[in-house]
Symmetry: D2
Subunit: 354 residues, 4 copies
């Protein structure tokens, strides 16, 4: 075994064929262009490898607690790679627009939008065809097959969260208890506004109106029917039970049994944030590189990327959940017995012993 | 002189007064919140210091070539700081939404949007009141005074560029020569499309239509009247002469006399790109931190930031200029005498000697 | 409450008093120099704040499992800040040596080595006076008081690890079981070397010698007396029990009860790695900034920093532990009952139910 | 032309053959290990491509001023890539030591030290065989051929610098003028020390001794014979003339003709700094990954890397030069005629016209 053979370097390092050189008009920066994109594809392969391994774990009927540490670790690795490839845009930006022009025409109509791996990745995470920004008036060719959509990470995570047994334990109904606390909080806030002597009448009315909006938002959380409306209208995507389970995990993340699930959810939010950032930074780069040159379909590359940046987010529901958090000090405290269940056997035995 | 006194550390390190502690409800993460924002303000001060020093140079009637190296260097320093403070968002994101909630209410209505330094910075770069995204239906209070707008970096750079003598030399009119090359290029492209046997009739028509759009775009470059229309409609902001000068610099950046101006323009594009990135990353962070809580004015913080990300860009014209570049090989070659003028005296004398 | 008052910006932004300006010889880059160092001190304050809060948790007789998530989270925050301040060196490096020279003499003898917060931080982590690289032939003045050393994070972590009950359970002695596996592995390796037909006699002897070194290393792990020798000679610092506990955690990190302790240990290694990196990068920066100018004590700043980079590492034992890991497939499997104890009560009950 | 064929993705993405999978003992993290190293090799190829193109420029008898902008730009690109691959270590560090152990034995004796491209790169920059840290008592096999050494970037840069005509112009001898200023500065410093009432006699003596060391250092700069001694002893490597030229460029970098040479020298220092950082960070990573396992030759991987970090630096002379800078205010001012020669023809003509 040696390094060169193991990494198949001979093969790997022969994949850089400059088109400009083939046509005897060598453009120095084409090498950078090729290598930057090849490196991207290698990282996409790695991310797909990690995401696949995570999906395999969630495909099981029962996800054991041990695997969750592994899941969190692998998703965090994906995030580390994502940060790295956002940074990589700086490398490509050492190519100036004029230098790009030296070979740009030779590549037409090849384009980074044709990266099958990246589109596959978006689909695997949970992006559906209908969520996609349409580019130049039509859907992208060679999209991953639709059957991928029904078994995406989003779907698997939703299913896993929905199974959480802690939402309704014999002696504790989370939702009922949470509603009591929220109502108390809103009432208290109302009192504070009404009794605030330094507020003008106008200011008072505006703040009370805002409070009303907040109360209205919470209703969708407490009433499955209202939530279903939001699902239908597309304002929500996550199932009702999964949303509640996520909330529970965010609120009680310190309980030993929720620590890993909390890391998993956080990593999903991170992943979404970094892919969004990647698409956005990319759009800025394309803008400076080719200006506003409008494509045949009436749309420009950087416009497409800018719009997709946010619209291709998958776990938006998890971002939105922050709307429904209430301060720890006002949280319903969990019954002793429930707390015990969420702890380690060893800790419990030790406690009894002492 | 000692380190502690020199840096006024006693004073500096006593500026962190946690509100939650003052109210006897200590929230651990408030310290991070305070320090992150204080560090931001220190960097803003530094950036303002650099931008001011650069503006001072451009305020002179004649900017000597020596200072341009300094200008490029200081703007590049600003970019280095900008990259660094985008990265700093990761530090604040170690605070979870729930932890923020522990002290969030104590700060109302204080908000990062009240950073006077940042707004001053945007204004100094060239953002005008009317360009600003309106937040919650009204303009932000305490905006920098309007007289700042008339002497912004944008204005100064525009004036400096407009003075470039190289646009019209006795024996060389850049624009006329450039138009010839562009026309030749467009004609050649037309021929290639029409003669392409592998294109369907439909495809041919679409490509020809796109070419027509390109030709139309170029017209605004070659006809001051059309350009003026774009200025009026707000599609362009840079003056006609400044735009041509920028194009000249981008195209002939290798000429010794254009090397520093090219670095200056590139740094301006970089600055815009990084402030845009900063606002966008910020909007994602706010979204995950407080969800979609809608403010009293009917707008949410992350929405404002997301919209301002792009809209507060100042040097968009420089991004757009890439649309008008043509490959080096098709550029009009500069007359010998003009080339000589752009070179160093020493080089010229040496050449003559040899 | 408003932003300016809350962050004490008036005060904060008045702490930048350029010495060169006071002496009427304004040196532009002094502002950068001041702000970069002030930002460092703010981050040091934040890191100290986090480390203090973590030490408070470990000072308790019993560290409950819930707090470990918090500990890991806060140490990881420290690591995030560390990465950020290593990156910050790039900002200072936009100052050239010649620009530094404009005001360097005005600061003498003030020096970054006088940062009390940084030295306090090193001491709190566990650096002892005697571990410190002596600078210019003498110890640094104003070192933190020695009593800090006896209650450092290192000491607290060591004590916490030593209390781990899992090293010796009624029905499982980790060390005995581990030794069996290691012996088996070494024997197998010996066989492989001796039976390898492609090895020359010479190569065989060299590999066998190396194997002997490995066996010898392991002895210190299996024999408390040998280990004590290493403690005395300074080759090890962590107590025997703490070292074994760390090994246990590294090896069985997937067990739910070890997941957080594993994150805590990993964060400690990360912290050490990043402070080491910071000191090293710093030494390179000082070298390019002031060359090899030798101080009055016969030592130069960058030399001191380079030597301290590695020598001021605190948790070296945790780095070294990798020497003693064996592959998962060859690990002693834990008895069922022990595995159960390491799991959640809920999981166990659910399993019984199914 | 399409994206997949252009980037040869089929081929590229088939180069990841996990050894652990071939042997039916799949180790998940081997994929990461392979891809991280392949990405490194792709970047090395790119860096070599840039360095080669720069060397080609310097191989010419006369380097025209236009190319210097290009040289600076390409070297800065290399630095951008270097920063990026230092950051990439974070990706590999998401692999834990235990996970590495799952497949580590399968790779023996393949090792990153066998990267031919990296060694070639070091040689091309200017590292000579005798400068290399010997690993395990012997030189590394497959080192690049010695003829590479005689035409390294170091050699080419040295030759280019030595040709600088500005060291000795008809009417200005830089060295003589510089010596006058340095002597004046040293004398003034001596006076300040001797007349300082707040200094103890002891302190005075120590400071005067330090000043003597400084004077001694400068002697090597002013006396070619002393310098030659340092060359022989290996304390210096750059030729005398090249060292003086570098000093000149560092001191008068604002002169238009020196702006690009200054950027070139700065980029060389940056490159050295980042390769040094890369090797050092690498050594820390290896330490945490495999501990102190001692190789057959009596040396461990992380030791080798740590020692090579600094020792493989190539342009140390440029770092050391900062020792000899004096403040701008005390610099000999260049004669008018010389200044003119360093300026653009256009500027000069314009000045005459006004």
């Amino acid at each position: 075994m040696n390094y060169v053979d193991y990494l198949q370097l001979k093969n790997l390092l022969s994949c850089q064929q400059m088109e400009s050189e083939r046509l005897a008009k060598p453009a120095h920066d084409e090498m950078l262009f090729i290598i930057v994109h090849q490196v991207y594809e290698l990282w996409f392969k790695q991310i797909l490898f990690e995401v696949d391994s995570v999906m395999e774990i969630f495909e099981k009927e029962r996800v054991n607690e041990e695997s969750l540490g592994l899941v969190a670790h692998r998703l965090q690795r994906v995030v580390t790679i994502q940060k790295h490839i956002v940074d990589q845009i700086a490398v490509l930006e050492t190519m100036t627009p004029l230098d790009f022009l030296e070979f740009r025409d030779l590549l037409v109509p090849a384009s980074g939008f044709q990266s099958f791996q990246f589109r596959l990745l978006e689909t695997k995470l949970g992006l559906r065809s209908r969520d996609r920004v349409s580019f130049a008036g039509k859907t992208l060719e060679k999209a991953p097959p639709p059957e991928e959509e029904s078994k995406s990470l989003f779907v698997l995570i939703d299913r896993w969260l929905s199974r959480t047994p802690f939402l309704k334990m014999r002696d504790f109904d989370f939702l009922i208890n949470y509603k009591v606390c929220v109502d108390k909080m809103l009432l208290r806030d109302k009192g504070l506004i009404e009794g605030n002597p330094s507020l003008s009448e106008d200011g008072k009315q505006r703040q009370l109106a805002a409070l009303e909006v907040t109360r209205h938002n919470f209703e969708a959380l407490f009433d499955r029917n209202i939530y279903d409306e939001l699902l239908k209208s597309g304002e929500r995507r996550m199932s009702y039970d999964a949303a509640l389970a996520s909330l529970l995990i965010f609120l009680y993340r310190d309980r030993p049994i929720f620590q890993q699930p909390f890391h998993v959810l956080t990593a999903l939010v991170d992943m979404d944030e970094w892919f969004t950032t990647w698409r956005y930074r990319h759009s800025l780069m394309v803008h400076r590189m080719i200006g506003t040159k409008i494509g045949t379909g009436g749309s420009s590359g950087h416009d497409y990327l800018k719009r997709s940046a946010d619209q291709h987010k998958v776990f938006t529901d998890l971002f939105d959940l922050s709307t429904f958090l209430i301060p720890r000090s006002q949280l319903p405290s969990l019954p002793k017995e429930l707390q015990r269940k969420m702890d380690f056997i060893y800790s419990s035995e030790e406690e009894r012993a002492s």
